[in-house]
């Protein structure tokens, strides 16, 4: 059994045919992690007790010939910003060291209730802030496809673990590109659901108007399967939508002939790597050959997406991260004699440089005298960016763009220049601000063998359409 390519369908077939058991499948993944994760650093903790107890339950169902839930025995990894009883939750930060949350994240609990085996928690940028996974307090993750390169971020561990065969699929989170960009860098599929589609209860918040949970998988159909299990309302999250959940697998397998595909000129300008341009243009040609109508469109405010994002995301972060104060969980600096001193010294010892930078920027943007100039202005531009997409979707069913301007860069290449690092998010943040859904799907490799991803964007709550076009791209790969 090749764990690097093992999909949900293949794993399920191997379980039902008796070729393997849920326990053996979990153990095989743990063995591979033990052998190979030293050089990748994707797992921060393993949840062997919980995983093997679940695997035993599935094996009992198999033995009794009882009906199997949809994810029976499927080994998954979980980004360490999502809570799981029995496992630490670090969010990649020293400030949460030693914290064991007493409740399960809703999305994680739904996957387990559908039979999934939760192997452990995956490395990420501290509080999901970063585009390279170099901001983790527990060391960077290395790209399994080229160990001297970053896996992308912030869900770098989640992308790398799927690419390396350390799980069949994983969960990540995406605030400004943190699922889609690492999926492209590691050569796996990543799905960004519509904002509100999946409950965020149990997600350690970074920027609440942007944060979303979504899967990394080995193919488009698996992403549709996992979304179907996780989507839906939740009494623990008032922002989880009551919009009906569709049959995403069925929708993703429909033919694409007759669909209108928009290609926005703003995503093909200066700074786009020529090999990536060629691969994305090839995917567009493949969609045309499959019967799609290709339309040139314009999303005129695209160039303002990064500055808008870095105001809104940091403002929300400065508020969300105020809860980390040494009182209720994790680290406390015990040397201070006053309450304020304890807060300040705990936060100084617990937060890394990028987190401090973003808290400072967000606090500055929200402070008296600057609120209108930065925060309100950015919220107004967010309206313009969203209107761009809404009017484009009056004309087209889906939008196709490059996922990243360059392939995975080298570790250390951008760590001294925060602006250069932020510019790596050029194709991801506009969709984040607008709240629409998207899929990052592999569409080739550079001549050096680095993966290339293409982004398929869909309207709010039309994940089925985005997955359908992504499936057509996947089908056209050699």
């Amino acid at each position: 059994m090749n764990l690097e390519t093992l999909s949900i369908d293949q794993a399920r077939a191997a379980l039902t045919s008796g070729e393997t058991t849920a326990t053996a499948l979990a153990e095989a993944h743990y063995e591979r992690i033990a052998q190979k994760d030293d050089e990748i650093n994707s797992y921060l903790s393993l949840a062997k007790d919980r995983a093997l107890a679940q695997a035993a339950k599935i094996d009992a169902l198999l033995k009794a010939g009882d009906p199997l839930p949809p994810l029976a025995g499927i080994p998954l990894g979980i980004k360490d910003v999502l809570t799981m009883v029995g496992s630490p939750a670090t969010a990649g930060s020293k400030i949460l060291e030693g914290y064991h949350p007493p409740y399960d994240c809703t999305a994680v609990a739904k996957l387990e209730a559908a039979g999934a085996v939760l192997l452990g928690k995956l490395n990420c940028d501290e509080f999901a802030m970063g585009s390279s996974n170099e901001n983790s307090a527990y060391g960077p993750v290395h790209n399994p496809r080229a160990l001297d390169r970053v896996p992308g971020g912030s869900s770098g561990g989640s992308a790398a673990a799927v690419a390396a065969g350390f799980c069949v699929a994983s969960l990540g989170t995406d605030t400004g590109g943190s699922i889609r960009q690492p999926a492209a860098f590691c050569g796996v599929t990543g799905l960004l659901p519509t904002w509100g589609r999946v409950s965020r209860f149990g997600l350690i918040a970074f920027a609440s108007s942007l944060d979303r949970i979504g899967p990394f998988t080995k193919n488009v159909k698996d992403a549709a399967t996992l979304l179907g299990v996780m989507a839906g309302s939740d009494i623990m999250d008032a922002t989880a939508s009551h919009t009906p959940v569709n049959d995403y697998v069925a929708e993703s397998q429909k033919p694409v002939a007759g669909l209108k595909i928009g290609v926005p000129e703003e995503y093909f300008g200066e700074g786009l790597d020529p090999e990536i341009r060629a691969a994305v243009e090839k995917s567009i040609a493949d969609l045309k050959a499959a019967g799609c109508e290709i339309k040139k469109i314009s999303l005129p405010h695209t160039r303002y997406a990064i500055p808008t994002y870095y105001v809104i995301a940091t403002a929300e972060a400065s508020s969300n991260l105020s809860r980390f104060d040494g009182v209720r969980f994790g680290l406390r600096d015990k040397s201070a004699s006053t309450l304020t001193g304890m807060y300040r010294q705990t936060r100084d010892a617990g937060f890394g440089a990028e987190v401090k930078r973003r808290i400072l920027l967000g606090t500055y943007a929200l402070s008296a005298g600057y609120y209108d100039a930065y925060y309100k202005k950015a919220q107004q531009v967010r309206t313009l960016l969203t209107r761009d997409f809404l009017s484009a979707f009056n004309e087209v069913d889906a939008i196709v763009t490059p996922m990243t301007p360059t392939p995975a860069f080298k570790l250390g290449e951008k760590t001294d220049d925060p602006v250069a690092m932020y510019l790596a998010d050029v194709y991801t943040v506009a969709a984040s601000l607008a709240g629409i859904c998207g899929v990052s799907v592999p569409c080739g490799n550079t001549k050096d063998g680095l993966p290339i991803g293409v982004q398929i964007l869909g309207k709010h709550f039309e994940e089925g359409m985005a997955l359908r076009v992504a499936q057509a791209v996947e089908n056209s790969q050699p």
């Binding site: 904002w195 500055p307 808008t308 006053t338």
Partner: protein, 106 residues
């Protein structure tokens, strides 16, 4: 153009955010904040007079995301997380309360 952020402004914002910064960190943050704010200044190219600010997605969709009344759960008592399980995770607690250093100096 935004005004340049001085070291004093960095210290004041750090105080608002309850962050303690060493002198070398102040210099680094000052440089980075000015670089990032310089990039953010591009937003001033846009005339946004009369454009409503957008705090989150549901607003622009006319409430589609949180189907208004439905978004509120039924008002019934449910069990919450056990107090001991929560207090166990605190750096200092006494089974009833979180403990912190002295707040008021006499």
């Amino acid at each position: 153009m935004s005004e340049t952020v001085t070291a004093d402004v960095v210290r004041r914002v750090a105080e608002l955010a309850l962050l303690e910064l060493k002198d070398d960190e102040v210099a680094r943050m000052q440089k980075d904040l000015n670089a990032i704010l310089g990039h953010i200044d591009q937003l001033n190219e846009l005339d946004t007079a009369g454009v409503p600010p957008m705090a989150q997605v549901s607003e622009i969709l006319g409430g589609q995301v949180e189907a208004s009344a439905e978004a509120l759960r039924e008002d019934v008592v449910r069990p919450s997380i056990d107090r001991n399980a929560v207090l166990r995770e605190a750096p200092e607690a006494d089974h009833r309360f979180f403990k912190v250093p002295k707040v008021i100096e006499r």
